[in-house]
Amino acid sequence: MSTTHATEGIDEALASEHGRPPLNRVYEWLTTVDHKKIGLMYVLYALVFLVIGGSEAILMRIQLAVSNNHFVSPQVFNRLFTMHGTTMIFFVAMPVVFGCGNYLVPLMIGARDMAFPRLNAFSFWISAFAGLLLYFSYFGASGLYAAGSAPDVGWFAYAPLTARVFSPGHSTDYWTLSVFLSGVGSIGTSINFVTTILSMRCKGMKLSRMPLLVWLYLVMGYLVIVAVSPLTAAQIMLTLDRYLGSHFFDTQAGGSAVLWMHFFWIFGHPEVYVLILPAFAFVNEIVPVFSRKAMFGYPAMVAASVGIGFISLSVWAHHMFTVGMGAAANTFFVFATMVISVPTGIKIFNWLATIWGGKVIFATPMMFCVGFLFQFLIAGLTGIMLAVAPFTWQLGSSYFVIAHFHYVIVGGILYGLFGAFYYWYPKVTGRMMSETLGKWHFWLFTIGFHLTFDFMHIPGILGMPRRIYTYEAGRGWDIWNQIVSVGTIFQAAGTLCLVFNMVWSYYRGKTAGHDPWDAWTLEWSTSSPPPDYNFAIEPTVNSRRPLWDLKHPEDPDSDYEL
């Protein structure tokens, strides 16, 4: 969109900034309240932790590649899986979806920033500090007892293992504080998302015309507020237990270990949807553009997303099928868990119908979405198996569960994110990413993913529990664990392709222009990268695909949408 008279002054001021010394540029990033800069910082911060958490996974896979291995000690291994899980959920997955949303939501609703820019900056920095605090535990957690360094209680930190008698020193305190602070940041950001989406939309953008991505971030925002609050409260309760003599989870004084499980999983399961809804969001934008068709069944997709938001709050105790809740409670949570597969299925079918009759272009973003569709389908089906409580009496806490949720998180969420990286990178940097490297990334990562996570189901069926630092030979687990470990090499190589591609393309990539994918949503109407003010004039929309209307004035969407 052309720059108007009103913004010329701003542009000049910005142009002069580029001549500033580097220290000023750093200062500008540290103090920024611009949603795009904060979004990028979220994503880069998450990518750094992705490399750290991934390295932890590789160390664990080296240890488990053969039976009776002594590559790391049990203490080190237990810290590795605790840090891997905590890092990947709280300091990779959450910040990266918040970062993408921060960048995209205002652009897609035609706004100039988030509703609360300072809250936005605060949320980012408090979350960033939480991640640093978690890793500082490696240096600072020994305490008077010189006991342990990083936390080793597992990422869901079941009571009473976190009580001071079982976890002396300060490692658990670092875990608790970092999860608490990350929770504060998450809730702050989510309040911002909800407010922005409800009150900052441009002219003509009724709720029924919002891009699906924005709808999904709205649902996600509500879910975070509802689900992260109990977890954050539980961290305070745990700290009270550890230092002020309360007995919420202290079983030796009559507290309840099961209470902690409820607190954790009323967060933990909606959390899965908090992370997968943004992945759905990216797929909702990418699949139509690369199939050259409007999204099939927009109202059904919105209804399914809202439905998932509600149902996901009533399934948490399927993580507790083996704690002895009794037949009635087990049956209820079986039903609730199975029901959620209905709206999830509707989504998959609508994506299928969007592709059907289209002209599918297999550019890298679409490749990752295709990977997402197949892998998320499988993840959903193993999810149905685990919803069958008796099946979970066997498979719960086994490697089958690990394989299942990595299928969701890597095969689903991460593939959606990779697709999003390739799709919006041109908007963010003004340059295209290399397609050749993108294909290398896709194929290496996909081969690695399937080697690792397909074969990981099998040792679970053969009785291998999670969180064991070694196992004896003769259980029939060796060969599967070797294949699983080999897969990580391919995944690491694929990830290197991505990192190299992002850096190389930033300097050498083809110039992208406003709208390299011939897309339809508002962010593609402004320059790449967008100016600080996003849009010179507030856009006006008449349909869900404003740029389609602009490109096809003879045949606008607004004539057809209900």
């Binding site: 293992l161 069958v388 009496w393 053969l462």
Partner: protein
């Protein structure tokens, strides 16, 4: 069936060479899992040997069949759509027909999954009720299971037997089943009892009593291990369940009810003195002696067990001596401290404990 809106539209597409549809590797499937079922593993859940494991196996096969069918249909359609509707280089430069949706189609792929869900739910509920909501027979055998960091305590209240780490239970006659009920709790952190061939897992949680049952029909040794992370040595908290014929089981019980071996000579008598004069007695019980600790396993009939350290190593005099010398060398993080005994005392105490049949 009516499609709500459709139209064709022209647009100038400037780029986008056609790409061959990549073959998406979906290696997952029943083939892999069926292969797993054939693999030889003593802890294969698909090789059940008692009713609870058997009913899980049946419902699992049913669920696998349904999910496989869903996978084949949906993945097949997806693959077909991606290949059939790929962009071809010789395509005309117009956008495809824009289709916005169809209420009938949406309704059909809402209702059909609901029917599948109801079917699965009913099949599942049946197994839950069969396993968790049946009354306990009056003649059922009771065993109390207490989880410790990082070992298992077993108490047979009606038989007056206490043992550790190796659970002995009798086979049951299918015509007149007498299930074994495990009453479970934990002395410290959460644990989980999982012997895949006999039953699904059940957690042992402090301050809470859970129960589970099993009715093995085939004598043999069934393996498993703790399935809830419980601390440093969670990995070596192994389970060994010895299912014996009623006669063998009765013999085992009468042997376990005997007081500890008292007729000791030479080195083993000296070993007893070493044991009783060290902190061993604070944690271990040997019935009929001053040793009445309950923090560690009961050692009254230690020598009758095949393994030590909760199944981690074979119970040989060499291993036993190494264990007493420094438990951390075999099981780092084990709560038993090294007593810093000299070589002579180690030999004596090993000789004594090896006598406790």
């Amino acid at each position: 069936m009516s499609i709500s809106r459709r139209r064709q539209s022209k647009s100038c597409r400037t780029e986008g060479p056609g790409h061959r549809v990549p073959v998406v590797c979906a290696l997952w499937g029943l083939s892999v899992q069926a292969h797993a079922a054939n693999a030889s593993s003593p802890t294969n859940m698909f090789n059940p040997a008692a009713t609870p494991a058997q009913s899980i196996y049946s419902v699992a096969m049913f669920v696998l069949a349904i999910t496989l069918a869903i996978f084949l249909v949906v993945a097949g359609l997806l693959l077909y759509a991606l290949i059939r509707y790929r962009h071809r280089p010789d395509d005309a430069d117009i956008e495809p027909a824009q289709i916005y949706g169809s209420n009938q189609i949406e309704l059909s792929w809402t209702v059909i999954p609901i029917l599948i869900v109801v079917t699965l739910f009913l099949a599942t509920t049946r197994v839950i009720l069969e396993t968790q909501a049946i009354p306990k027979p009056a003649d059922a055998m009771n065993v109390t299971v207490i989880g410790h960091q990082f070992w298992w305590e077993y108490r047979y209240p009606k038989l007056g037997v206490v043992t550790a780490n190796e659970l002995h239970i009798p086979t049951t006659d299918p015509a007149h089943p007498v299930p074994i009920y495990l009453t479970m709790t934990s002395a410290d952190t959460d644990h989980s009892f999982w012997v895949p061939r006999l039953a699904g897992k059940m957690d042992l949680i402090p301050n809470r009593v859970n129960t589970m049952w099993m009715d093995p029909q085939q004598a043999g040794l069934y393996l498993g291990q703790c399935a809830q992370y419980c601390g440093t040595q969670h990995a070596k908290m192994l389970l060994r369940v010895y299912v014996q014929t009623p006669a063998d089981f009765a013999a085992w019980v009468s042997q376990q009810k005997r007081p500890a071996q008292q007729e000791l000579g030479g080195s083993s008598a000296e070993g007893q003195t070493v044991f009783m004069h060290n902190a061993c007695i604070s944690c271990h019980t040997i019935s009929g002696t001053a040793a009445t600790g309950s923090f560690g396993p009961d050692l009254t009939h230690l020598a009758s067990r095949d393994t030590i350290a909760s199944g981690a190593v074979q119970n040989t005099p060499e291993n036993l001596r190494k264990w007493i010398d420094n438990p951390d060398s075999m099981k780092p993080g084990s709560l038993m401290p090294s007593m810093h005994l000299n070589s002579h005392d180690l030999d004596a105490i090993t000789a004594y404990l090896s006598q406790l049949r």
